[in-house]
């Protein structure tokens, strides 16, 4: 903590009593029948709950301040709201209540959703790059780098084949390579480390370390306590959408391991 203080402590992300709620249609009673749906619709003029819209309160009143140069790990059991929190910080999920303030545009590491399996790897590199907001020139400059990094062409000319012909490992490698090609102010990584074979894993860890150096602040969601310990100097522990603990990595991980180990 001492070394951060010298850094003049410039905040990059401020979460202020943040609440995120998902709404799920027609999941109220678990009855999917048409008559159930109709009777829900006919109960008009009532609130969400009565119309069969079920609310999932994924993040409940989380507040924290992240500073420049910090690498923050997010831990917690499955469904504790880690990924949701990341998306909210990135401004991708609207907040139900409270606000997130950020310096610049935080970005999630990941382009999976923009890629199309029916297109060639080549076109996906371009499409993914454009989707992340890179210019055509930037993509042209980095195209070879991305392909080399992914190692797709190590076993023949696969980049000109549709992505649906790739093995799942190859596709994951290409996705990571595209996502990691861009520089970010505030970078958020959602368990992206565990893709590909050992060789590729090592290469991606190096690349993440590089990205961290360039980025102001890094958030990392992971279930792997070792990779949190290796990369993060601060940890936020979420449980049931609430911030259970926030502090230096060692302290929080010790508590967390005690909690999960029991």
């Amino acid at each position: 903590m001492a070394e951060q203080k010298q850094d003049a402590r410039i905040p990059t992300v401020i979460a202020d009593d943040l609440h995120i709620v998902y709404r799920v249609n027609g999941a109220k009673t678990g009855k999917g029948s048409a008559t159930a749906a109709l009777s829900r619709m006919l109960r008009r003029g009532s609130d969400d709950a009565a119309r069969g819209v079920r609310k999932v309160h994924a993040v409940r009143g989380v507040s924290f301040v992240a500073y420049r140069g910090e690498a923050i790990g997010l831990i917690g059991s499955n469904g504790s709201g880690k990924s949701t929190l990341l998306r909210a910080i990135a401004g991708l999920l609207p907040a139900e209540q409270g606000k997130v303030y950020t310096d610049g545009q935080p970005s999630l590491l990941g382009v999976n959703a923009a890629l199309m399996n029916d297109l060639t790897g080549e076109r996906n590199v371009i499409l993914g790059g454009l989707a992340m907001g890179m210019s055509r020139e930037e993509i042209k400059d980095r195209y070879q780098q991305i392909v080399d990094f992914s190692g797709i062409n190590e076993k023949g000319d696969f980049i000109t084949l549709p992505m649906r012909t790739y093995s799942s490992g190859m596709a994951a490698r290409l996705r990571f390579s595209i996502a990691a090609a861009k520089d970010h102010d505030v970078l958020m990584i959602d368990e992206a480390l565990a893709t590909g074979d050992r060789k590729f894993q090592k290469r991606s860890e190096d690349r993440i370390r590089e990205l961290r150096k360039e980025a102001g602040t890094v958030f990392l969601v992971s279930h792997n306590n070792k990779s949190i310990r290796d990369t993060c100097n601060r940890v936020l522990w979420l449980e049931r959408g609430e911030l259970r603990m926030d502090g230096p990595t060692d302290e929080v991980l010790k508590e967390y391991e005690k909690f999960t180990g029991k």
């Binding site: 991708l92 997130v100 950020t102 454009l130 911030l243 259970r244």
Partner: protein
């Protein structure tokens, strides 16, 4: 257990000594932080959208290519699908129902094919628009871009699809004795106006569909009603000549009928201006501007809310 939470939070905020005592909004203001996911101003939004023009184009072309990539005939279906479509309508309405009342065969067949293609352009833009946000939630929740990119991109995909259909349409027109002349140049402004109208409509449907995904089930019926009411396979003035004038006028001034009629007028030699309603170009332009601007503003108003599940 909740006490642990409390202690830990307090401990951390205590280390932020220089900024201590500031509330979150004050701290944010002091260091120039902005609210994440806030809606940009309209001008800023247009600028962001312009920056993403390459993405919009690439996305629409990728969608178009991906459509037939598993088929053996591949991209040939881009042309074969509209051709088969036109054949089906000709068989039912031209041969079985003889809806070609008041027109010679040389006029009716291009008339029908033009109607089907032009209406399909609007129809598929609407259907793609409804699902533009609700069907791409993964993309919306993963990446940053002005959300209007999606409905615009889908409308653009339909425009490119229509350009393939135009090849078929030109062949049909020439096959039935309408040869290229100066009036064919009018096709360009007609398509431009219809594209503006479609894009605006797609943006309206995208916002509506994001809030109410059920619209995807409902819209096919609305669109079919619209199609039958717009004179895709029959001439409105001839079929409705016994009815009061205002009905025919109303139907003829609806945007789908306007764009179909203008396209037929440009393309078919035997389809003269006597078939067009009054002030046709003004109405065509009015619909385009009204929907493009209105739809854009309407879509932008909910920008920060897209992606909520």
């Amino acid at each position: 257990m909740s006490e642990t939470t409390h202690d830990a939070t307090v401990a951390v905020s205590a280390t932020a000594a220089p900024d201590e005592g500031l509330t979150a909004p004050e701290l944010a203001a002091k260091h120039g932080l902005s609210v994440s996911g806030a809606r940009p101003s309209l001008i800023e939004y247009v600028r962001q959208l312009w920056d993403r023009r390459h993405f919009i184009l690439a996305f629409s072309r990728a969608k178009l290519t991906a459509q037939y990539s598993q088929a053996k005939l591949g991209q040939l279906w881009q042309v074969a699908t509209p051709l088969l479509n036109a054949a089906v309508y000709f068989f039912i309405f031209g041969l079985l129902l003889e809806a070609d009342r008041g027109m010679s065969r040389e006029v009716y067949i291009p008339f029908l094919v033009t109607g089907v293609f032009v209406f399909t352009f609007t129809q598929s833009s609407v259907m793609a628009g409804v699902r533009a946000i609700s069907g791409n939630l993964g993309l919306v929740r993963a990446l940053h871009f002005p959300r209007a990119s999606l409905p615009i991109s889908f409308a653009l995909q339909q425009l490119q699809q229509l350009l393939f259909s135009m090849i078929v349409l030109f062949a049909v027109a020439i096959g039935f004795g309408s040869y290229p002349d100066l009036s064919w140049a009018l096709i360009v402004p007609v398509l431009a106006l219809q594209f503006c109208f479609n894009t605006g409509l797609a943006m309206i449907m995208a916002r509506a569909g994001a809030k109410t995904p059920d619209l995807a089930q409902l819209m096919p019926f609305v669109m079919r009603t619209w199609m039958y009411a717009s004179g895709v396979m029959f001439s409105i003035p001839i079929f409705l000549k016994d009815k009061p004038d205002w009905i025919a006028n109303l139907l003829q001034w609806n945007p789908a009928a306007i764009y179909m009629d203008l396209m037929r007028f440009s393309l078919i030699d035997g389809y003269g201006s006597e078939n067009l309603p009054d002030h046709v170009w003004a109405v065509a332009g009015g619909w385009a501007v009204l929907f493009a601007l209105g739809g854009f503003v309407y879509f932008w108003k909910a920008e920060e809310r897209y992606g909520r599940g």
